[in-house]
């Protein structure tokens, strides 16, 4: 065997034996280190997957959404705006939407009620493929339920239920379908109905809607048309598809409070660990280094020994932390983070996310954890190794 390789293997053997001598301490450091890496890696994997899932699922979101604003808040938009938009060159279709929230007093759940004419929407003729049952019919108070709503209402085979109008009269509704489980990340809290039923439920006048979905002839002109709409309709908020996409790129960023807590906790744990290591080796460790030098070891050999020791502890902790994080996020649906991600939500959609584990993420976690640990352990070892052996032993 190559002499250099044999030397490294011997050093590794000695390192592992040395680690084994202080197994309780080293195992403790490794488990704490792995736990910190697990926390950071879980957050990184979860946010990366949420972002990737959002980018994928919302790729066909409306090209432009127009909302009317009043006193800094959104309010119902007059349908007369439709006629104004028709004069704009480059617009293909404008579809009025009616949507809003319904708070269930009995369960404390928030439902999203949405109504739109599928005939005006892209792929509207294929909407039946996203549900089991049939589409709601006009004038009949029919609805399609998301899985979370169906579970919350607990209809137990019944097809009829009622929701309160603003004047507390009851609006009877009939369930004619359920959204497929595959759409859960989009439709879990959704009650889809027809515009007339939604207007009746929310008491929105016939000549108003909640917002407009605008589709343009040339997707490259989304920004230009959005500016034209903003000029034509003052006191409106215009949200474009690229903005929606960009929002989901940043909304799970490291600047969110929970991420900061995770990162700060990890940083604090690491600083304590590094401070403990950098503040110097124990007398026993110094004596060990001195004895090795008396036996003929060079300073470089001692440093190599420490390098192997740190790399073994930190590397195994990194592998353990990242593997556990992957299992936590993609097999256990991020159970530890769910209480913060979902908060007080009563409806809990299934977190079946698109796995997005990128090499840069793993490298970043490695750089943040293993490399500083190596530096924090090797430098004190070098300081101890350059002391004359007789002085260290005394």
């Amino acid at each position: 065997m190559n002499r250099a390789l044999e030397k490294q293997l011997n050093l590794l053997d000695y390192t592992l034996a040395s680690l084994r001598r202080r197994k309780l301490k080293n195992l403790g450091i490794m488990i704490v280190f792995a736990a910190v890496i697990f926390l950071v890696a879980s957050f990184q994997f979860l946010t990366a997957s949420l972002t990737a899932t959002a980018q994928d699922l919302l790729a066909e979101a409306p090209e432009i959404v127009v909302q009317k604003m009043s006193a800094g808040r959104q309010e119902a938009l007059p349908l007369s705006y439709l006629a104004k938009l028709e004069g704009l060159y480059g617009i293909r279709t404008v579809a009025p939407r009616i949507w809003g929230y319904y708070f269930s007093e009995t369960s404390g759940a928030n439902f999203t009620i949405l109504a739109v004419d599928p005939a005006l929407m892209p792929k509207g003729d294929r909407l039946f493929q996203a549900l089991e049952g049939k589409l709601p019919g006009v004038g009949q108070g029919e609805v399609v339920l998301g899985s979370g709503v169906a579970a919350d209402l607990n209809l137990a085979g019944r097809r009829s239920f009622s929701l309160f109008r603003p004047d507390l009269t009851l609006k009877p509704l009939t369930v004619v379908g359920n959204f497929k489980a595959d759409t859960d990340l989009l439709t879990s809290d959704l009650i889809f109905t027809t515009p007339d039923a939604a207007r009746d439920l929310f008491a929105i006048p016939e000549d108003h809607c909640t917002d407009l979905c605008v589709y343009v002839a040339n997707p490259r002109e989304i920004g230009t048309i959005a500016k034209k709409i903003a000029a034509l309709l003052p006191a409106t908020r215009i949200v474009t598809r690229p903005q929606i996409s960009q929002t989901y790129r940043v909304v799970f960023g490291w600047r969110s409070g929970f991420a900061s807590i995770c990162l700060l906790t990890a940083l604090a744990a690491f600083i304590i660990l590094a401070w403990d290591k950098a503040s110097g080796l124990s007398a026993e460790e110094k004596r060990e280094i001195a004895i090795l030098k008396v036996l003929g070891w060079q300073t470089g050999d001692v440093l190599l020994l420490r390098c192997w020791e740190s790399l073994t502890v930190a590397g195994l902790a990194w592998l353990l932390g990242c593997t556990a994080a992957y299992i936590h996020v993609f097999w256990l649906d991020g159970e530890l983070f769910k209480p913060v991600l979902l908060g007080w939500s009563v409806i809990h959609p299934q977190l079946k996310l698109l796995p997005a584990v990128a090499a840069p993420d793993l490298l970043l976690i490695f750089t943040m954890s293993v490399v500083p640990y190596l530096a924090a352990t090797v430098i004190p070892a070098w300081r101890a190794a350059i002391i004359p052996p007789d002085a260290a032993i005394r």
């Binding site: 699922l57 792929k123 929002t247 989901y248 992957y326 908060g343």
Partner: protein, 100 residues
């Protein structure tokens, strides 16, 4: 058994486990468009703008189309109190609306 061999076996175990996880991740990614075909139809046909993750507050249920400062707009002096507000970052500059 030589200690280095024990470490090598340990690394091999991690290698096999992580390899299997990566393979499974690749399989899930490959089958994603097929499984999520109906979700893409739902997004397009209903004009959906947001994922249904947190349903407790409108700015975390619909971050793309709700007021970006909603946590502090419910009433004068209002403070953010929903737990999900601590997970979701403020969209900030990215929600800047087009101006004529």
């Amino acid at each position: 058994m030589r200690p280095a061999l024990v470490l090598a076996l340990c690394l091999l175990t991690f290698g096999v486990l992580d390899g299997a996880l990566l393979w499974q991740s690749g399989q899930r990614r490959a089958s994603w468009p097929v499984r999520m075909g109906s979700a893409a139809i739902a997004t397009a046909a209903m004009g959906l703008t947001d994922l249904c993750l947190a349903t407790e507050a409108r700015y975390t249920r619909h971050p793309a189309v709700s007021d970006s400062l909603a946590p502090f707009m419910d009433h004068p002096g209002s403070l953010e109190h929903f737990p999900t507000g601590s997970f979701w970052a403020w969209p900030g500059e990215n929600q800047k609306e087009p101006t004529p």
